[in-house]
């Protein structure tokens, strides 16, 4: 089954005659006949009954037609997803289960008509380069990396402070605590595999360690959060830190505990970054949505690295809510299903650890 045959089938079904379909597709009637015959051979059913004055759909043809239209629609959407200029809003998140992903899902629920593509880049440097080149339209990052301010043409807005929580197995010494202070964590082994030096989230953990004298082990390969949770659950001496807004596939029966950390609460400062002057019509809607829904960051009793931008910095007032004129260049067709698409980590099994810029590492 190839798309050209399917397109021909739809054209012939609409026209009711192969000849008209051929004219519309700028081929000969014989070509249409052969394409339809090939499609029928592929599917194993007759799609048209040939009559002296045209071709009528069989029952199978009627059943197949809406699926064929779907197929063409999805193909068009796929092609437009990489079409410069009028493509969906493309947003980088730090991981598929991160708080940024949750924010994007909420945005999609609030604006289902805005088409979205979600990608996952390696670190803030990659993301900022992609922003400036126009490859992406926005990114959720904890700007700025220490010592390197954001470029002048990149704007940002603090959108979410995500408190870290301690994750332990049922036999851990702190398992029954309702909350723990940062001071209580000193001396306990905290295991966070997959930290890549040089990234902004590695810098976050570095600062956390330096500030409070924690013991964070980043050793060993990262086999994904499932393996991490298994190990944590089974190892009384081991705990890990995890973003409180992270949505996990929570394994049942492991007795895992999520315990808030206080005094102060370390928070991961998610910001939205975008290039000044990016004309994508959906970008103001995203900014307005985040400005409206984000809890006030920088709450007392929390800690962030000194290089995290304050929530008031360099961020102009959020744009007014998107009006009809600000709709995406390719408005979603009514009833055309979900307009968001993102590559989740739960796809088919990989034969080997993913290559960059993929990342399955645990992040705040």
């Amino acid at each position: 089954m190839d798309l050209e045959s399917v397109r021909t089938f739809v054209a012939a079904a609409d026209a009711g005659r192969f000849q008209d379909a051929a004219a519309e597709l700028a081929v000969t009637q014989q070509a249409v006949s052969k394409r339809i015959a090939a499609l029928e051979r592929d599917l194993g059913v007759r799609l048209f009954t040939r009559t002296p004055r045209g071709a009528e759909l069989t029952i199978d043809g009627q059943a197949f037609l809406p699926h064929a239209r779907d197929l063409l629609r999805v193909a068009e959407r796929a092609a437009s997803s990489v079409l410069a200029g009028r493509r969906p809003l493309r947003v980088d998140v730090i991981a598929s289960r991160s708080a940024a992903s949750a924010l994007m899902r909420a945005f999609h629920r609030a604006h289902p008509e805005i088409e979205l593509d979600v990608v996952m880049l390696f670190d803030v440097d990659t993301a900022v380069a992609a922003l400036r080149s126009g490859a992406i339209d926005a990114t959720f990052r904890a700007v700025a990396a220490p010592g390197r301010p954001l470029p002048e043409d990149v704007e940002s807005a603090r959108v979410d402070d995500e408190p870290l929580e301690l994750l332990t197995g049922p036999a851990h010494a702190l398992a029954s605590a309702r909350s723990v202070t940062v001071a209580q964590l000193t001396g306990h082994r905290i295991w966070i595999p997959g930290i890549v030096p040089g990234t902004e989230w590695a810098a976050y953990y570095d600062d956390l360690i330096a500030e409070f004298g924690l013991t964070i082990e980043a050793t060993g390969p990262n086999f994904g959060s499932d393996a991490l949770l298994d190990t944590i659950a089974d190892t009384p001496a081991l705990a890990t830190l995890m973003g409180g807004h992270t949505r996990l596939v929570w394994p049942a029966g492991h007795g895992l505990r999520r315990i808030p950390v206080t005094d102060p609460t370390p928070v991961y400062p998610h910001s939205l970054l975008w290039r000044r002057g990016n004309p994508h019509p959906a970008l103001p809607a995203l900014r307005a949505h985040l400005a409206a829904t984000a809890a006030a960051p920088g709450a007392p009793g929390t800690w962030t690295p000194p290089w995290a931008i304050p929530h008031t910095a360099s961020s102009p007032p959020p744009a007014v809510p998107a009006e009809p004129g600000a709709r995406p260049a390719l408005p979603a067709e009514p009833g055309a299903g979900s307009a968001v698409s993102a590559e989740r980590g739960d796809g088919r099994a990989r034969r080997r650890p993913p290559a960059l810029p993929y990342r399955t590492t645990q992040v705040p």
Copy 2:
């Protein structure tokens, strides 16, 4: 863009190396390389960055990947829609805006996991033949046509009595009535274009005329319900009858009135027909749903033709609600969007009146 290239792209993205993708697809590495290159040429963007130890997705590649997966999923669903044995439940309705369509939409809302295909056949004869051949699994019809009882292997259940309503323009003599009796209709011109002699719905109107002495004009070509409503709205001397459960695209500003008909209320007796012994796992669920939601038919004060089967005839007690074992052979994938598909009449403009078995005629 052809599906084979897209399939190759997904395989390469999953594997991270062209060679592994080639092995999985049983082609050579060079073939994969050429397919990917062709796809990139088609789309106009680079999808992979080639590295010494494999190929990584570019940002465009990451954005394209979920759409590519969608495309393959939809293609698979399209192919399975005509796969004998494990295809979606295929139901014939009398028209896309009919009460049967509404019932099917309600069923889909109640059981979104059951995949459905909706087709529209010409009349009860065609539908029954399709039932017996297995081309469809169920049909909503007003059985049985006069003088011809249903075949012995076809079962039926009365599922909806649809009251007819009078539809008039604002200047019609009866426009301001809250309801009209059948007797009041005598003498008024009732226009129902598109009645095809020999069909069971033509027989319904014939009986209605014979019983109450109405004046029904079936003259003129049928240009669809929009044109019908336009004419009704503008012509004070003309009215039409319409099923009270019909969902119309209601034109604003026309001043159209829907007026109940009483004493008695003519109702169109929708029944569900299916072949005895049809093993489709979703069929019991549909029957149970309809049995549970259908209003009790045959209410006093209503009229149906004498040949309409009574609601108690030949219909065994509805099957128990479908249990997990009765799920469709191809269960909907989680999060895979709507599982219902039907050819609606609002598709692309046709170049000429539709060929049979299409029908745009107005029906009860």
